[in-house]
């Protein structure tokens, strides 16, 4: 069945502007300076993180991030070790670079897993309504009753601490956010006249959802995905800091902070630099996400 031309049936505008081309999107993004800064910082950090992901020993410039040195323990920042060394004499700068892929990887993986399940749940609940909507949203209400890091903490307490389990725990915690936002957008989109018209023309539910609803609710999904990565990174670092996430000697930043807090009196720099990096990464995601929202989803603008 051919879909009628947009002009004829479409007299109510979609709620969110559709992203028609990457070029147009980037043009709008470029107008927002802080978003651009976030974008460039993130691109740079991604490039850096590739080295860490492909080389377990992280042998960059001849210095390994895993090399311990008994003679260089707890040294402050110097020309040889930009961020100083930790309690085992490992170079903190290289450990941070090495650990970049874990921080970014867990943040992305957890968020995409959450979106992968949460978005369909939200669409189904919003599109079909009825008992399906009630059940899905009640379950989401239950998950929302565990504020912040508590749900992830409870899940990790069951699964045990590891990189994968932390990712799963944070992904489950993100479900209600995605489901709620997507459900809301689906509800408003499906009421638009052109969706009615397409249905009247005999289009199936699957076609309506994938070709007409999904493209129109993409902007809030993209914006919230970006912003959620920031909070996923914070949660993951928090769990590792508590010793319940990524386990040492993996150079995860939260775990490094946990290592360093026993040496705060002798060597405060161990706890300074990994945390500073977390701030930079999360800040970049927040800047980029805020900018994205302004560029592609102006309705949500604060």
């Amino acid at each position: 069945m051919a879909v009628a031309s947009k002009e004829r049936v479409h007299d109510t505008k979609p709620v969110n502007p559709r992203i028609k081309s990457f070029k147009e999107f980037f043009k709008r993004l470029r107008k927002n300076k802080s978003a651009l800064v976030g974008f460039y910082v993130l691109s740079f950090l991604f490039l850096v993180s590739i080295f860490g992901a492909i080389d377990a020993n992280y042998n960059l410039l001849g210095i390994s991030s895993n090399a311990t040195s008994l003679t260089e323990k707890l040294e402050g920042p110097s020309a040889a070790h930009w961020f100083g060394t930790d309690h085992l004499g490992r170079d903190i700068f290289f450990r941070i670079l090495h650990g970049m892929y874990i921080t970014l990887g867990v943040g992305f993986a957890a968020t995409f897993m959450g979106a992968f399940v949460g978005v369909p749940l939200g669409i189904l609940a919003g599109y079909y309504g009825g008992w399906l909507d009630t059940i899905v949203m009640r379950v989401m209400d239950v998950l929302l009753a565990f504020p912040g890091i508590l749900l992830a903490l409870a899940i990790v307490s069951v699964l045990g601490g590891s990189t994968i389990n932390v990712t799963i725990a944070i992904a489950i915690g993100s479900l209600p956010q995605f489901a709620r936002i997507v459900r809301g957008s689906t509800l408003t989109t499906k009421k638009l006249e052109y969706v009615d018209a397409i249905r009247a023309l005999g289009a199936r539910d699957g076609k309506i959802i994938f070709q007409h609803i999904l493209p129109n609710i993409m902007s809030p999904i993209i914006v919230n995905t970006t912003l959620f990565i920031a909070s996923a990174i914070l949660s993951a670092a928090g769990l590792s800091f508590l010793g319940l996430g990524v386990q040492p000697p993996t150079p995860e930043w939260g775990a490094m902070l946990n290592d360093g807090r026993n040496y705060m009196y002798q060597a405060g720099h161990i706890t300074f630099f990994p945390g500073m990096m977390i701030v930079i990464v999360v800040l970049a995601f927040n800047l980029f996400g805020d900018g994205l929202r302004d560029a592609i989803d102006p309705k949500q603008k604060q």
Binding site: V142, A145, G148, I149, L150, G238
Partner: protein
Amino acid sequence: MTTFIIRRVLQLIPVLIGVSILVFSLMHLTPGNPAVIMAGESAPEATVQAIEQRLGLNDPLYVQYWNFLTSALQLDFGTSIRDNIPVMSHIQARFFITLELAIYSTIFTVVLGMLAGIVSAVKRYSISDVSLMIVTLFGLSMPNFWLGLMLIQWFSIELGWFAPTGWGNMDQIVLPVIALGTAGAAIVARMTRSSMLDVITQDYIRTARAKGVKERVVIFRHALKNALIPVVTVVGLQFGYLLAGSVLTESVFAINGLGRLIIDSILQRDFPVVQGAVLVIAVTFVFVNLLVDISYRMLNKRVDLN
């Protein structure tokens, strides 16, 4: 209003049942036999059986859940695997410390956040607005545990102004409250700013100015009252995040609260204590949200009660 409150309370029932099922399942979703995990891999068979016996792990699941639910309703969460002390007395001793921490942090969050938000909105696009918004962006992006570590580094270790650990004295309270409350203050500041900006552009504010009301009165008496309504919701949510966030802050500052109890119990695989403490925080959060919803309706008379 009464109908609204009754309906809102009734809506809590399925949520609370769901919460109790989730917390109950924690122990049963563990890969392997929970009794073995709690006793330790190398524990003798008799110890494992004793734990199974005590927790009723051999009963059918629905019997176990029913027992869990009925005792939880009587505030009985069983006894700790480690020291045989009732879970409730563990929780009682620590709940009020965490509650205190969360309440002080909420006050800090609200006062600082609203002040910053009002200043930003009133002096829109000024240097103070721009710099406040940059500071709030940093506040949002900072892990509260790292901020805690930095505060200890600067104000306890280097300057010696505050105690680095513990809870109770004034010099022990200040740093944890700042560490825990800063992110929330940033959120409240941004919310207050945008809400104030919405209100300031409305007709009745222009009318008030036109009839010659002083700017200060316009801002505080006319604008603020309406601008704060949406902020109330955020504050309620923040209280929940502060309750949960105290897990990290308590760990940093070695505060003997509920959060630390959860962490210690997870590390020691003391599931009854984890279940009890998690349940208490979740239920507290659910009821705080109820209060927030009700006060939101009371404040905002324009909201349709249906």
